[in-house]
Symmetry: C2
Subunit: 642 residues, 2 copies
């Protein structure tokens, strides 16, 4: 094995035999027919102690962070990121490949392995998308748990996010009708002995205001006034409410129209919960104390003097942390072949960084020889953010990138007809067409090039579909290695065969990960905001330059003034093109990136320039997926969730 210490983390492991059928049945049938190991066994095989897990039923367990302390001296395993070329709207099987590769490593090659995945939002599950647990014979099970509440992390984020939102509006209402002295009396009620106290959640605001009193009564009138009145500018508020439902009617709403809130109404809206900054915090935090700090720093807007107001100013960050205290623990599940999976966090891949949690990866790297983690969308999106944001905050070093490519997507980049979800595929995609494919290979080469800019070896996983021909698959393989400089390019059939279909891929990944790491970030943090944006635009997207709209210029100035300019950049861009324009396929050239606006996730720790209109709340179609979803009372099983 290739541990730094020369030791392997292999332990006795019982692979779950697949009951494969041909043709491959629907995903939910495979998932529901699968044999499951008790999660206690999965945990034990992984080397977790019984007291380090908390069971949530027989097939899910939360993993306690104490395991990191116990294993702090164990060297990390190899860290593998799975990314993709620019996908069609159908997706190119990245999760399926992530799972299939893990099944190959763990159940066929005998390595210890952990798969790290994001938790999907329930919104799309009931709306347009269906489940997200992989596919075919490469899935995470039980898929009902994976796609429904899991262990409640997203619900905890909803609760914490909305407690902050309620606190903002309630505070503005109370401040509007009270003098400073009244606010003081209410914020510092006398106890039985006539004494006032600073509540624990007031300490950070006191520090920020430079007030070093320990008895509220000792504050000067000026200090009292500064402390008790937040004076939030309602027009400055960027904090929105969230809900884990696809509910487009909540995108833009007016609140405070009740008779008791008269005069305080304002426009705002709901995002889907996974778009909450708290989800990004959950994904980027490294321990409970760090999460508490980040939550306290969440900026919700400014006061009327333009100074940022954060969750600590509102005194609510401690309670928000308490609401998320269990969410910080990754959830252990298993693949169809019985290898362990950590499911943890699921931030948006445009307005946030689209990667599963640092904590899950940290724990996994202590427990396994190989950790396979997936980043959202293509290498220009999730992978770039994986390296420049996630690895920067974690300090973890990636060892290899798996680049998923399909004949279908490459033909689209070569000029094939539009691919639309729900519509039958054009025959260009289902019949051999080497010219079309060749014309699209530039997209793959560009993505390999992006990964190599970070100094990480690339293995191309050619995710084979039934209609692909040997000549097509071979063409991709050859070009990826000979022209792209990939370490290897391997045809995989894990959807059809499970881990067995990805053994060759796994072997190539093991070999690539042996190479000494040359990993580097694309940009340093201590350069101006515009320079960071331009490096990403030129080096990753291939743009000629960047143009800033006035809103963006103003924000850059403001954020620089506030000291937020040292944060990494999280570009909110379409994933359907290397450029900002989803219609530009292949390798777009001769374009400039327009930055319309910039937002700050100060708690999570990044700035996100908006390159287009990014919807943060999906809608339901006329016939949502929920029409098929029900309980079968004969079998007690969920039907229609796929």
């Amino acid at each position: 094995m290739s541990q730094k210490s020369g030791l392997t983390k292999r332990r006795p492991f019982q692979p779950t035999p697949l009951k494969r059928r041909s043709p491959v049945p629907p995903d939910f049938e495979i998932a529901q027919e699968a044999d499951l190991k008790p999660i206690t066994q999965v945990a034990e095989e992984l080397g977790l102690l019984p007291e380090e897990i908390e069971l949530y039923g027989p097939y899910k367990a939360k993993v306690r962070l104490e395991v990191l302390e116990r294993l702090k001296d164990v060297p990390n395993g190899k860290y593998i990121d799975v990314t993709a070329i620019t996908p069609t709207p159908l997706g190119e099987g990245k999760t399926t490949t992530t799972v299939g590769l893990s099944q190959a490593l763990g159940a066929h090659l005998g390595y210890s392995v952990v798969t790290c995945l994001r938790q999907p939002s329930q919104g799309p599950t009931f709306g347009i998308k269906g489940g997200a647990a992989g596919g075919g014979y490469s899935q995470v099970i039980p898929m009902e748990d994976f796609n429904l509440h899991l262990t409640g992390d997203i619900h905890a984020i909803t609760a914490a996010n909305n407690l902050l939102a309620a606190a903002i509006d309630a505070r503005m209402l109370h401040e509007a009708s009270a003098t400073d002295e009244q606010l003081f009396e209410r914020l510092f009620p006398k106890d039985k002995n006539g004494k006032r106290h600073f509540a624990r959640n007031m300490w950070n605001r006191l520090r920020k205001l430079g007030i070093d009193k320990t008895d509220p009564d000792e504050m000067t009138p000026e200090e009292r006034s500064r402390f008790v009145r937040l004076d939030i500018d309602p027009d400055s508020i960027t904090w929105r409410r969230v809900i884990d439902t696809s509910d487009r009617f909540l995108r833009a709403i007016t609140i405070g129209q009740g008779p008791e809130e008269k005069g305080m109404e304002r426009k705002t809206g709901f995002d889907i919960t996974v778009a909450s900054e708290l989800m990004a915090i959950l994904a980027l935090t490294t321990d409970l104390a760090d999460m508490r700090r980040r939550i306290g720093r969440v900026v919700i807007g400014t006061n009327r003097r333009g100074e940022p107001i954060d969750a600590d100013d509102l005194g609510v960050a401690g309670a928000m942390t308490v609401l998320m205290k269990d969410a910080i623990k990754p959830t252990l599940m298993q693949t169809l072949e019985g290898t362990p999976v950590f499911v943890h966090a699921g931030p948006f891949a445009n307005i946030a960084h689209g990667n599963s949690s640092i904590i899950a990866d940290m724990i996994a790297l202590k427990l396994a020889d190989y950790v396979v983690t997936e980043s959202g969308f293509g290498s220009d999106m999730g992978m770039e953010k994986f390296f420049d944001i996630k690895c920067r905050y974690s300090g973890l070093v990636p060892n290899a990138v798996v680049m998923v490519a399909t004949v279908r997507a490459l033909k689209m980049h070569g000029g094939g007809p539009k691919v639309v979800a729900g519509k039958p595929l054009d025959h260009a995609y289902t019949e051999e067409n080497l010219d079309l494919l060749r014309a699209g290979l530039g997209n793959l080469l560009a993505h390999i090039g992006i990964a190599r800019k970070f100094g990480v070896p690339v293995v191309v996983a050619i995710n084979a579909f039934a209609t692909d021909t040997p000549a097509e698959l071979e063409l991709i393989r050859k070009v990826a290695v000979e022209e792209g400089g990939a370490e290897a390019a391997v045809v995989c059939r894990h959807w059809e065969l499970g881990g067995e279909g990805a053994v060759e891929l796994a072997e190539a990944v093991v070999k690539a990960a042996e190479k000494p790491s040359q990993f580097r970030f694309l940009y340093p943090l201590d350069i101006p905001i515009k320079e960071k944006i331009e490096i990403i635009a030129r080096e990753v997207y291939g743009a000629d330059g960047v143009d800033y709209l006035p809103e963006a210029e103003a924000k850059i100035e403001e954020y620089t003034r506030l000291g937020f300019d040292k944060l990494p950049i999280c570009m909110a861009k379409t994933h359907l093109s290397l450029s900002h324009d989803p219609n530009l396929k292949g390798v777009p050239k001769g374009f400039r990136i327009p930055v319309r606006d910039i937002r700050a996730s100060v708690g999570a720790g990044f700035l996100y320039p908006l390159l287009g209109t990014i919807s943060t709340m999906p809608g339901l179609p006329t016939r949502p997926a929920f029409y098929d979803i029900d309980l079968d009372f004969e079998t007690g099983r969920v039907v229609g969730l796929f």
Copy 2:
């Protein structure tokens, strides 16, 4: 023992010794210092098989409904409801008495016992109220779990409620811009073989419309049109969104103000999740299939012809049931003395019936000799609904009522100064005042009388406070028995002493529950709506009669036309008076009840007349409870949650 079969359900039971201190420390200190048994041990002692529970960490477990099948031939234990006189706004210790009584029965008298409690909403926990796990040495632990997410049931209801809400608005939007033929095409997309299908969630609507086709293409144009167009009248929609946060700015809002929903905006609002009809359904359902049926029947409004539209018409009831499939399982916890507790459901006690779940009680009665369950507010509220709604749907027969009374509340009813939360108590309440107390005893007598109307024996639990004098306590005791006809009246000190302080109460309850049941409902279902309301108003509230506002008259007519008049009645009344006016203390006389409006919870199965303005969304005060709540990173414990 007093089982019908003559058999006891006593099993080996290890009481947890209390580490009592004097003076009694704050609730959270007691809770955090307490010894906890593994919940597997609690389950085993209760006679649950390992495969009948699903662990949620070491101290919580969900109980599977399969246990009911295994124990279907076991006779039920004794069924004890804990209610109270008309309380002060501070509450009179009903939960604490429920827990203390259980600790006495289980840990001191050796009976097998289960306590059944409601799950509290997180809104008030972070707002004004703090936790709800009992108090002193009579608490449910771990109190953090009890007061936070528990096992996610409330979050599941939020998700299901809001999926229905999103479905309503999305459907109206899609119908507004599509012809019947377009809707048909979208609702019945052709599969690969060119065939259309009815989705599972369409079956109930088909049946309702009397369409017996099995192939969508066989429907006549008229049938197609009837099926695909719900034609919801936006002004008729009563279904609101919910959130488990105290957020007053969501009470009245305008939704649909985004550019893509133009022309569809409408006024609506959010309630707190526990006010959702789905919470009432969870509390009143008896199994999964019944829950699916009730959810399907939830009426959200009418079409433009005035016909009710329900969740089955929207095709979303199956998915809602799937979201709530785990919520239907009660959560097992423990008291400070190690007796088992089921926590399950927590519907509002005014617009809903305010009782924990039927399912928890059903399971508990099979497992234990004594089941102690609490109903919300006073006997005029939660207890009346416990008998007339909950027992009617469950078929279960109560054996005794415990009526909690305090010197404080009785003095208030005697004309004592106003009791206000957060303000110090007037000395009238903390010094002996037998005249004031005597003047208020009528309220206790009235409540005993209400319980006796149902044919159930009453034991009065006089919840003693440190400032109560022996003469005061004895006066209550004497009047309750001699004038009120209570079986017994017992001074209890379970707050200070735990179960030991309620042993005498427990013995009186055991004795009372031996009496053969004379239980009867207050009214039959097959009389007109107005007659049912008037029986409750006269017999329970002591009113001279009932007046109906025009809105109420119209609803009575409409609901009678729709056949909803056979449902039981759930009065939405203040709990602070036997009358509809919270200022009328003691035993109000010479008043008439005004019914302003009537609403229907058709899925849950009751009509609720509104006697005043009932807030279904609390607000946050200037200094919410969240200011104190944080994590202590030294100990890893939650602080400030009490």
